[in-house]
């Protein structure tokens, strides 16, 4: 039996130490990385490809539920076991969907049983946890078997193109397999829809300009901070400009 590689994520050092103590009492497992928040957990998971991630739910920067969602896109998919002191809603959802979790303080026997289960079966889907999440702090994108995290704060605009959505940050463009409507529903406060196919981050808009010939064909364009291109404002959405 090969050794099971484990990543631990918890914002509290004593909680991480306790887990390491307990894991040291279990044979054939090795802790290969420790993270202090969800973001770090995903970054380290990309780097180390652990078999199992032990994720605390309540962590700063990115919570455990979101980290699990991003990590699910890794190949091979890591097993996830959540750890929590108290979280009524999440626990109900875990129970309903046969997702494994450990209650703090964690008991050795419980941890052992959970790890035996991990060795025996494939990771279950975490799709059912979606409704538990608040808005995500990052988007994750597949890239050559790995994933890339894009902080929501850095997105300038999202534009729908055929099957994909192009995500534009100051440095790069990414292709995301999600619908624009879905993004709008989740991050509606941050972005405004200037065009049927385009969501623009409010903070990134530096101004509006009228372009085109003297006739009726004039169109408003939104100018953006940090990138040279502009976004056409569709006629239907022009009332949004007046508000701004």
């Amino acid at each position: 039996m090969s050794s099971l590689t484990i990543l631990i994520a918890d914002d509290e050092a004593p909680a991480r130490n306790r887990l390491k103590d307990l894991l040291s009492d279990i044979t054939n497992v090795s802790v290969i990385a420790e993270a202090k928040n969800g973001k770090e957990a995903v970054d380290l998971a990309i780097q180390h490809k652990p078999d199992l991630m032990l994720l605390d739910i309540r962590m700063p920067l990115m919570d455990g539920l979101e980290a699990a969602e991003h990590a699910q896109k890794l190949i091979p998919k890591p097993h996830i076991i959540f750890t929590t002191a108290f979280d009524t809603y999440a626990i109900k959802a875990f129970d309903l969907n046969a997702i494994d979790y450990l209650l703090k303080p964690i008991r050795l026997e419980r941890l052992q049983a959970a790890i035996e289960k991990v060795r025996a079966i494939a990771p279950p889907s975490l799709a059912a946890l979606k409704p538990l999440q608040k808005t995500r702090s990052h988007l994750s994108i597949h890239e050559r078997g790995s994933i890339v995290l894009i902080p929501i704060d850095e997105i300038i605009y999202c534009r729908a193109e055929l099957k994909y959505v192009t995500i534009r940050t100051k440095e790069k463009e990414y292709l995301l397999e999600e619908s624009l409507t879905h993004l709008e529903a989740e991050f509606g406060e941050r972005f405004i829809r200037l065009h049927r196919n385009c969501l623009v981050a409010q903070y990134a808009i530096s101004g509006y300009e009228k372009r085109g010939d003297e006739t009726d064909n004039q169109q408003w364009h939104a100018m953006l901070k940090g990138v040279p291109e502009t976004i056409t404002v569709s006629r239907r959405q022009q009332h949004l400009i007046r508000k701004a």
Binding site: D11, A13, P14, A15, N17, R18, P60, A85, K104, P105
Partner: protein, 330 residues
């Protein structure tokens, strides 16, 4: 501490306001009884008022001054004195008025004295009823408060932190368990009476010791208590739940942690407690916070009526809770 708990606090603004309103209602009822038609109502009430208002204000002043003395007596003794004082004031004022003014109809001494006595009895009865109605509320508020305060999250995480220390640092684990025991003793105890402010601060520090086990240097606390008022009394557990909120909502969501500032000052007869913590707009745990604030507000009202207030505000990335309450000395 006063041993006469049944006697209303005659130096409390809320109580005095209730007396003013109550007695004037009494005057209105008396006017309705004697006036034969609506047009008579106002003249009679005005006439009655010329006697009632000075009598009322003078009584309030005298009772206010007598209160420190009254609260040292038994309830029936203090009631007897109040009734006696009222008879003297009523007699004096009615005699004074009937000699100097032409209000013999309204100021027939027997009328004034009987009305005053009935009003006094009615007010005392009202305060007694109110006290009885509120006492179970104190107990209930305490229980409710208790449930809101032991955040399961805190309990289980703390036990987990102590467990992690047992193998490596048994000494620290011991201290942590001792702190926890003391904290829970207070949380589960009888919490009706005011307690010394120093005791409340000590409790808070024990709580913070436990939290810093888990949070380590992410949690920083600045105590600005140089001008701590001497021998001040505060409702029990007024500080700890607010500091717990500051940790849970202010510090935990930030990866690098932050600073909580506790400022306690006083001016004249007022005690001022301010607790501020960093605040991030995008984290979404507000429900628990509202609960704790509402709970403390209720308890402040039970102890001090209108004389205490709790307010909160957010600016420049800081969330601040401010409590004002009367400076009660032990």
């Amino acid at each position: 501490m006063s041993k006469n708990k049944q006697l209303p606090n005659l130096q409390n603004l809320g109580i005095l306001l209730r007396i003013l309103v109550g007695v004037n209602l009494f005057g209105i009822i008396a006017t309705i009884l004697v006036s034969k038609q609506l047009s008579e109502f106002l003249p009679i009430f005005t006439m009655l008022s010329t006697v009632i208002q000075p009598l009322l204000l003078f009584s309030i002043l005298v009772l206010y001054l007598l209160y420190p003395l009254l609260k040292k007596l038994r309830y029936w003794q203090s009631v007897a004195i109040i009734v006696g004082v009222e008879i003297i004031i009523a007699t004096t004022i009615s005699l004074l008025f009937s000699q100097s003014l032409l209000l013999e109809y309204a100021t027939a001494p027997y009328r004034v004295i009987l009305l005053t006595l009935s009003a006094t009895a009615a007010m005392l009865y009202y305060f007694d009823l109110r006290q009885r109605a509120y006492s179970p509320a104190i107990t209930e508020a305490r229980l409710q408060a208790l449930q809101a305060r032991i955040r399961p999250h805190f309990l289980f995480n703390s036990i987990n932190a102590v467990l992690s220390l047992i193998r490596s640092q048994p000494k620290r684990a011991e201290t942590a368990l001792e702190d926890m025991a003391e904290l829970f003793r207070v949380l589960m105890g009888e919490n009706r009476d005011l307690v010394p402010l120093e005791q409340e601060i000590t409790l808070c520090k024990q709580y913070l010791n436990i939290e810093s086990l888990r949070m380590e240097d992410r949690l920083r606390v600045d105590w600005r208590v140089d001008e701590l008022p001497n021998h001040a009394l505060v409702p029990p557990l007024i500080l700890q739940p607010l500091v717990e909120n500051a940790v849970y909502h202010g510090i935990e969501p930030i990866a690098e942690g932050g600073q909580i500032v506790v400022t306690i000052t006083h001016k004249a007869n007022e005690l001022l407690i301010k607790i501020s913590n960093p605040y991030q707009a995008n984290n979404s745990h507000h429900m628990g916070n509202k609960m704790a604030l509402k709970n403390i507000k209720e308890r402040l009202a039970l102890h001090f009526d209108l004389e205490a207030s709790i307010r909160h505000q957010t600016n420049n990335g800081h969330y601040t809770v401010t409590i004002r309450m009367p400076y009660e000395k032990s």
